[in-house]
Amino acid sequence: MDGFKNIIMIIMSSVLVNNYVLSRFLGICPFLGVSKKLNQAAGMGVAVIFVMLMATAVTWPIQIYVLDRAGLGYMQTIVFILVIAALVQFTEITLKKFLPALHKSLGVYLPLITTNCAVLGVTINNMTDGYGFFESMASSLGCGLGFMLAMVLFSGIRSKIQESEIPTPFRGLPVTLIAASFVSLAFFGFAGVVDHLFA
């Protein structure tokens, strides 16, 4: 039961409190780039959740059973980024072959994710935090869900921004960042929620 509670806490805290986009600044590039329309934002979110889970499922055993045993801990960055890049390519090819419909809706977002720092970030953070396999998977799921939540919420705000009158120097990215700042401020309200979840 404690293990189950722990998993729920990890998921909740990475979705709401330590949201990767809004409080840790990982994955800001796709957050600002692909959050213009709701369907794009949701598609990107699903693709990120998928890749994060796959990447964690592969990198965790590699780190524990290969790198740590062989004393090659310093190779972490190189190995992880290669694994993620290969995984993304492989996923894309597989989807294209066997699930063309899904590839059509998800496929365009997959290559973008190779260089998404949130994916590399979550795999490295899981190791630094010393999570076990299931905790790592939970944390990846939480981070992915948090990313998707932020993207979807923000796409709604952006569609409002596009209709408003904005001073010229602030057009485009500056006003988007300022709006993101307010969303991030709103997420501060969740601090402390997780600590009292089971209290």
Binding site: F25, C29, G33, Y74, L112, L120, G172
Partner: protein, 230 residues
């Protein structure tokens, strides 16, 4: 080679093509490590070191690397240098290593480095690529510093760890938190866009060439830059 041309390559990274304020690359470390001046300086210099080395090496190998697999090749070269910098800092600057934490490893996926490899080093001579690396690296460091100075001085009332008498008692905590970072960054971009007033190249003209994922994304990432109608 004209002196003028080389100087131009070196200087353009500072303002007109500043990677942070104009090209809008590498936003993650910009927001995450600018809560303190020391952190920003360390991040800027670490990224600059990786950028210069990777620019030189990629430029050296530009005729050997096949077009189709260039992105993975670039990533491996960059990841190699990031690992070197990580090991160096872990050994000689352990405090900074702990301060930067995961963001040090994330230099690997920093769009500035892959972006410059793709936009410049893959097409130009070694000397020019090195200059480009130095200019862009300095521009990145200066941009991080300018954000960090605002955030640290007003957010925690200190400069590089030294307390400032009056501001120490009147801090704006909001600035050192996540939302403050985005707010300051947004205002700074607007300021630079106002100062350079049209002289800076429009983001749209190279937004996708500069984006690390440009090879695949076929233009869906243009929203990151100046809006179409601007």
């Amino acid at each position: 080679m004209k002196k003028n041309g080389n100087m131009a390559i070196l200087i353009k990274g500072l303002l007109l093509e500043n990677p942070v304020f104009v090209l809008i690359l590498g936003t993650c470390p910009t927001l995450a490590t600018t809560t303190t001046v020391i952190g920003a300086l360390a991040m800027g210099l670490a990224a600059a070191a990786v950028l210069i080395c990777s620019n030189v090496v990629i430029s050296l190998f530009r005729k050997l690397i096949p077009e189709t697999v260039r992105i993975p090749c670039y990533i491996v070269i960059i990841a190699g240098f990031v690992t070197l910098v990580q090991m160096f800092m872990h050994a000689f600057l352990p405090e900074l290593y702990d301060l930067l934490g995961v963001y040090l490893a994330l230099i690997t996926v920093n769009c500035i480095i892959l972006g410059r490899a793709e936009m410049f080093a893959g097409k130009n001579s070694v000397g020019k690529s090195a200059l480009d690396g130095i200019g862009m690296g300095l521009g990145f460091t200066l941009a991080l510093l300018s954000i960090a100075v605002i955030r640290e001085v007003f957010g925690s009332g200190s400069f590089a760890g030294m307390e400032i008498p009056f501001l120490r008692d009147h801090t704006v905590d909001f600035l050192v938190k996540a939302p403050g970072g985005m707010l300051v960054y947004g205002v700074m971009i607007a300021l630079v866009s106002w100062l350079t007033h049209g002289r800076a190249p429009r983001k749209k003209s190279f937004s996708c060439a500069g984006c690390a994922s440009a090879a695949y994304c076929s233009g869906s990432c243009d929203g990151a830059g100046v809006k179409e109608e601007a």
